[in-house]
Symmetry: D3
Subunit: 242 residues, 6 copies
């Protein structure tokens, strides 16, 4: 059995449970999925500040996963917080949901639009599109301006789906990437409503993570992703000493 | 059961069989893999001319697969010949091995080198790196100058592995992409020898293809990948009329 | 006398004749222009599938031209199908009409818009703009949604010219590239109507092809455009063996 | 008086003092410079892991600076850790030393080389060059493979200066950017030795920060750098609640 | 005292005086600012032709400044005319106002819009954004279509400020760069009116120029900015012989 | 008859005569070529300073050509000095030799190397490659470090040809662009010696200029290349008033 751990970087446990369900629904039968949240950090992630402060908790979860023999990790927040640091720490592969969704989108279309939560996060989405090589494929990043923790309320689902349709038309794009792990369970309905591929990064990252394990691939340790050097950490973060 | 068809675009049947074994070795238990070669076209692909003339055969295999209810396709030649046309024709996803290998490489490292057969094919490898968004991640394309059909001979394996090691050092890259489907079974050994991720696109494409099916994703039909318009084809190619 | 052969990759002979007339009208007195269509392939090219299946016919015409001592070739379809393979096969230069039109456009303005036939072909136009280095100069690709074989009907000319004007204004571009060889004879009228340079790739490619011959330039054989290796071709395509 | 606070993101206090001296040496007479280190985090920063865990301490120092009425901030580690989050939190401008050094380099030359500490950090330097728009100007990133905390030892200075000279020649570049705040006081000597501009980001960032204040410029709050939304933070990080 | 000379490349002396006032208003107390205009050239710069013919006068002013011991230069026209040549001639740093404004804008936001005079100059603004590395950060270049010499008339100020607001909203950008040195004194009011950073390149260039001097940085003479080779100049330009 | 005027921007008349011979040798029979030098400016162009001061003379020649009814212009210096301004002034097309050579190179190969005179000019060559869209196709710019006016001396020819061969091998490129109009008559010999296309921009620009005329194309006047606004010019340059 391959063990994929999905880390929701915020501390909203209901969202963690929903993310876990979405991941399990698409994983292959030979994969065990566990979903966790850090014990420290923000209740939702909607700014660079929130994202930066979510990272220590994500790294603590990676360290815990290593002790338990987890095979691969998914970071389930669309900013992919802590991805580089997590890759240094984990033995197996680590995939971010923005990364996975953008990779999947370019396998089923020439171009994609991103539909996300708050306008202030669109800059980060574009930054990730550049980082992963998909800036030319990304035709637009659109915000519904619904906070992460309000996505569960009934009108949100409809608003997101309508924005998917508008983005496809306005951008002339082939597919939609859902820009928040909290939208994972809108995916099937949005796809039916628009007739286009609508991609949830949680599911995509889970499948890609188990695929990398099956292919015998893990993060390269030749360069920047080598294990961090042992070093003293001070103050509140002293337990991160390795 | 998900049925993934791996199409070797050349007519070298021993290579097709080897490619099929590599694909099956990494597919999930719930996936059936079948490997085929076209009835027409070149015995190996080492030029734009060969590649162009391999495409009608690839498309005929896609058409045959559609009649049989195949769920997803892999095009197992590093030039990804006919990928765009195949996406128009197939109901399910189609993935090229260069595409899959480059996607996988960027999930396990910041950068990669490609190790391929003849020098004359390096331009195509760079073109695909640009097309897929990975031009910045690709640090070098290196040719061993061994023809495709000589890859099975004993010295070839060693030469390819040595070139992998040299490319990693010279380029300062994190991973190696094997630039020919005929190198698929060198992958594990090259990875052990170099201590770096060495990626075979056949395996990667097979896993990604079954993943897209599991995620409910198929090629978008909104734009350029819509089904081709019905039209008369003449001469030798009249049977391609749809 | 320099002999430039213009190959219309589809099998619509009336279009071939019109293309030949446009090429002859601009060629220098010292140039002979012949226009041909392949004996096999699609009657018009409006998808990746059509384009892929037009290529064997184009290559057969290059091979025929080589036997006749043709000096240079023009591939007269805006997707530039088979250009790389043709360059391997031909002794003299080979130019695509999209390539030529984009080169010409950047010699008479900072930027250009493309006006083409069906929306589904806009992705290919963008891909060529990237390939040739003109992605930053190309400000928009606009489709009139008139099929290639309906371009001869009276309303088409007016619709295309109106779209040229709208594209210039909307994109703030300096020039228009006509995105189909079937629009070649709209060029002068569109230019008069818009007051901007409107470029037909057939004429541009013809002049550039004869220019390269006059300059003593032919495709480099140092790298990927070296002559294809001799190799067995099977089935319907066995006659392509070289 | 303009108050510029220089934050050394690691906890090595001797380095903080040296950085403060370098900043003060170049600041204008009308500027007060204070240099601080966080109370939590790593003793030096040489990996993504170190960098990620330095960020909470940096943000705590920004929050403290805001209570004290600081006018502008410099983040004095070459990875520019926490820059985006700090911009959300601070009223005045925030500048990273990598950012400042690259900006300065392109004002005195067409191109630059970066000379940094460990090889594993070169990926981050390239990432920042891309982020800030200087990927084309950056001709190489070179590591001396001396750890940050050994830079004070006598042989380090000589090794760094020799690497500056080698980088200028090998890359054919116009200037050198010193890739670690711990190299700040090598700057004048390296410049004399090589005859080329050698740029220390600490000094450059300090001058640019006071310049932005003089120009009446502060970080835009229109988009992603608006103040973070009030939100509950848990566990070790609960004091970051705002 | 650091002596910064601001060169207004056109011959409109009232504009030169206003530019000098703006530069002095932001310079540090330890800096002397002098503002000059060439004795030859166009009365305003609104085309490539004007710009090209302003350059000899700019270079004559650099030569004069060198004789007087000027420490650094600002070229105060948004096309940054003659910047490369001036760098070869001057001992100290030379900064263009477009360059400075774009650098400053990216230090206070992720993106910016340019607001300029005539539409025909927008191509040059984009070219400079590419040259300096800020093409991705520049979200739009907008013209108010008011000639340079009419900027002093009352309605111009209001029109420019309204265009700043429209550009920020339409482009979704963080900041505005004023695209003409003649707009320098609109800066504070435009900033108040829009609530966004509005950047005048004259001030920014003045502060950056004095900063480079304080940092001991001057243009690299290693490569293309080495002093011009001695050579005979003929005709009207014979006095440029060096 | 089409009249193409070739403007050698420096005042070295022997070089002008040689350039004229090279242009005439490749022009079509229906074209008249005249070659001229300005009455003012530098005797050779080897710096930004030289280039800037060559431009007024180039523009005076364009103005003279317009009075004589010239159909198209070639600017025969590899920095393409004054190209944008000349396009505003001329009724017919204007082409630079760097521009033409790079365009031609990409029509006969995937990539090219530039072989030029002094190292200090390589930055300008790269800048033009970026400007014209050929930065990815340009694999290297190499200087022989022979001054322009020494190119006629016997050893220069051999040194340039050897550098062509070395550049092709070292860069793995398909073709060579000769980076100085003074190398025009080395072209045929260099091509024979290397077996690769070696491109002289003077010839290429002449053929492309007459081709644009034949195609009915002239510089767009819709945007930045509209005729300069009438305006007063002062001092030495007062005669440029239009």
């Amino acid at each position: 059995m391959t063990h994929v751990r999905v880390i929701n970087p915020n501390t909203a446990l209901a969202m963690t449970a929903a993310i876990g369900r979405c991941a399990r629904a698409v994983a292959s039968p030979a994969t065990t999925v566990t979903a966790v949240s850090p014990a420290m950090g923000p209740e939702s992630i909607e700014s660079h500040y929130d994202e930066a402060l979510a990272v220590p908790g994500v790294l603590a979860e990676i360290a815990a996963g290593e002790r338990e023999g987890v095979d691969a990790y998914v970071i389930a927040c669309f900013g992919d917080p802590g991805l580089d640091a997590a890759r240094e720490l984990a033995t197996g592969p680590v995939i971010g949901v923005a990364e996975a969704a953008m990779h999947a989108a370019t396998l089923v279309g020439r171009s994609f639009s991103v539909v996300t939560t708050l306008s202030r996060t669109t800059g980060r989405a574009w930054e990730l599109a550049h980082r992963y090589g998909f800036a030319a494929a990304c035709k637009g990043v659109h915000a519904c301006d619904i906070p992460v923790l309000s996505l569960e309320e009934p009108p949100a689902r409809q608003a997101v789906i309508e924005l998917c349709a508008a983005a496809l038309d306005g951008d002339g794009s082939d597919a939609v990437v859902l820009g928040c792990a909290g939208m994972a369970d809108f995916c099937a309905e949005a796809s039916r409503a628009t007739g286009a591929p609508v991609i949830d990064g949680v599911g995509a990252a889970t499948r890609f993570a188990e695929s990398l394990v099956a292919l015998g691939l893990r993060t390269s340790t030749r360069g920047e992703y080598a294990r961090p050097l042992p070093k003293r950490y001070s103050g509140l973060l002293r337990d991160f000493t390795i």
